[in-house]
Homo-oligomer: 258 residues x 4
């Protein structure tokens, strides 16, 4: 399978993992930067993540225009992805979501902090972006390049940005690191909330955040979790089909004709 | 499939989606106004929503009398539907439920407010109906035309009405909009409660409610969620069977006889 | 199927429903009074409720002695059942459980009150039994006739009794009413707890409790919920097998021999 | 099946039960002391517990060195197991985990206490180990023999030790007792947290802890729960395959050659 087809398949799996693990429902989306052309990224057409398959994934410029005119409807918030890829050359994968555990922090503006070792992957600081600051009343979606650039600016050098009364956007060095960070962001938020019910909470020390954070982004740690999440999809028969390459499709057609 | 058969099938699916997504258990019900006759509506016989199939769906007048004498037992609270259809010509679908996330607000009388973008579909205000005000001690069900009319009056021009120590009733322009509003009402209530554990909560601004609310009632947004919920039913083998038309049934009988 | 075999099957289903709906895990048990002999009751041997089948169900005297010497181990707390049947001729089914939603009330001693219409089936008052009062330090199980009689005395004329740092015991007029009351006791407890997070809670009025309570114990209401719970078991392939009668077993053996 | 093969199979089942019952996700691990050589223990290679099968299980010295050079990657925290086996000859099984219900106590340092009869299996006191005390800033994992010995020292004569901002480690007399204690530790933590929402919490009396604790560690109690958890794995088709013995593998190879 050529590299780009494998990446589409991995991105479809990542969509389904995030849905299956309770991060995404009908909404939210994940993208990956094009491996050969840093000026492009891959993102599904407008579809619930649990249904995404490789054939649903389109190529976009960093201005979030589709490279080929699509037949399908597109996510209206894709500028989130394009503007972050413009501002952060080190970022190769982006997830925007509205996970139940994170919403209370988006609603109240209370800071989300890393409270346990796996939560260190969110980093020492999670900035908060308020669309009211620059844009006043909106429908709260991020739909113009200006809104996307403003969000990317609030994200800065960090790993996660909360969006007032809306959700969160997470970035990663690749698809698997992104999924890992997204899922453990949600677990960390859940434990932070539950911790408040029990006593006084606080963050890891700066040294712990740095050490535990870099440890949990190492490929072998991420690989253990990835194998687990993929197995859980497999058990439900939810691995997406592989898209056939143009060449394979042509061969299949030729065969049928004979 | 004739329009009315398709609508019965859609209503049966809507019943099952609301059950599958945790809004309904053994109780609660959804109806739709008759597309050809605004003086009638369609509603299942008394049955748990997750079991409803097209053949269970009967036709009622707006006085909530069955058009044809039924062989089966009927929901005792069907006046909720009839009286709202009388009072609100713009309403074409109604759901009455006791969703766990909403119950704390029915019990305490605390106001339910839209706290995030998808929650805007409940509207700026969710009125509270207290059966004690007009009827004193009752069994808390809405069973007389007077009780139904009183509830419809409390609903007024709004999208949702809470019912003291009982549940909620939600209205929509069609079945899919209704399901979308019902499910995101429950999510919004859950996040409002969780938000209180974390910090200080408040509503979207009036402008945000209007803009985000109308956005999330657009057919393409609702369609994305509907495809997702239907897929989840399909995965469990829970799509209801289609009712055969009278004509198809007659043909089938004829065939069998030959 | 003779009446007693049907009742065994119904009791096995009731065990599995309570497990499947989250009331029981590896522990807890349900019994039914013998329909022909009010001085006996039916209860499973010591086994997790989700596994109980008709062949696991034994007959006991009201002193909680097995009528025939059993080959299997028995529940050590069966006096709960026997002593309640002695004290309450109107009771025909008993469930003892440790449902997660109820435990916080058993731990703290805070009163459990009916906060919504379906919760009215628990009655106006849920007494609290503290084993320390009469027996001092114990292992908290109810294992002697004296402990069982003390619990039955605390239950009095009520529908439910909480047991300090242990669980709850629920009674009913028949198996289906018992299951209905048990499940809605748990829902009511969950909403009471969640209600406290949101605002000020209180009970239904005495008139509402009486009217809503008797309404929700009517056979047609209970039947709708029972059909729903059975269907959910069926979907998981979890309906217990029917025990064959002694006669059928003899015939089967004869057939095999031929 | 030889004893050691049966034990490997039981350990694989124990891994999967803890995953299936919500104690473990992609991380955490269980070990058992070697039945014939108390100076060795059995532990899986680095793999998510829900995937562990007998063939994944390796043998280690109490210095946590693999007895045979492994082809696979190993858990970096295996010193937790080795150092506890050194310090506690009575311990024959160890589980390290990050269960959601326990995390709030690891984050806040609030004491975890036995609040209900089944929770008595955690014992009267659950000590709290803070890696900062001796080691300052770390990545929070327990990876050096010194860290492992420090944790074992904090555990002392107790059944469970909490680890600051990390998780918990539980010990048992055998695999099944360990699984029972681990699962009811998590339930107890959940009820303690929920109890705080409802009222004032406190522990069982010392006499109750001793009596209820020893009761719930008796083989027949543990066996009832084990049968239940195994049945739940079976329903999902999740029982691990049996590893073939070296002899069986040799025979199979011989057969293939013929």
């Amino acid at each position: 399978m050529p590299a780009i087809a494998a990446l589409r398949h991995e991105l479809a799996i990542a969509n389904r993992i995030c849905a299956h693990e309770g991060v995404l429902d009908a909404f939210g989306h994940l993208s990956v930067r094009h491996p050969a052309d840093p000026g492009r990224y891959l993102l599904a057409r407008s579809r619930a993540p649990e249904l995404v398959e490789p054939a649903d994934i389109y190529e976009f410029t960093l201005d979030s225009e589709p490279v080929r005119p699509p037949a399908a409807q597109l996510y209206s918030e894709r500028v989130i992805h394009g503007e972050i890829y413009k501002a952060r050359p080190d970022v190769h994968a982006v997830c925007h979501h509205h996970c139940p555990a994170v919403l209370p922090y988006c609603i109240t503006g209370e800071p989300l902090i890393p409270v346990y070792h796996l939560g260190a992957v969110i980093g020492a600081k999670v900035p908060f972006w308020d669309s009211q600051d620059e844009f006043g009343d909106t429908n709260l979606l991020v739909r113009t390049p200006q809104e996307g650039a403003s969000l990317a600016c609030a994200l800065g050098r960090h790993n996660v940005v909360l969006m007032r009364r809306h959700g969160a956007t997470v970035v990663g060095g690749d698809v698997r690191e992104l999924v890992f960070r997204t899922i453990y962001l949600c677990r960390n938020a859940e434990y932070q909330t539950q911790g408040r019910l029990v006593g006084r909470i606080g963050a890891l020390t700066p040294g712990e955040i740095e050490m535990a954070g870099s440890l949990h982004q190492q490929p072998n740690t991420v690989a253990r979790a990835w194998e687990y999440w993929v197995m859980r999809l497999e058990k439900r028969g939810a691995i997406p089909p592989r898209a056939r390459s143009a060449r394979a499709r042509a061969q299949a057609r030729a065969k049928t004709r004979v």
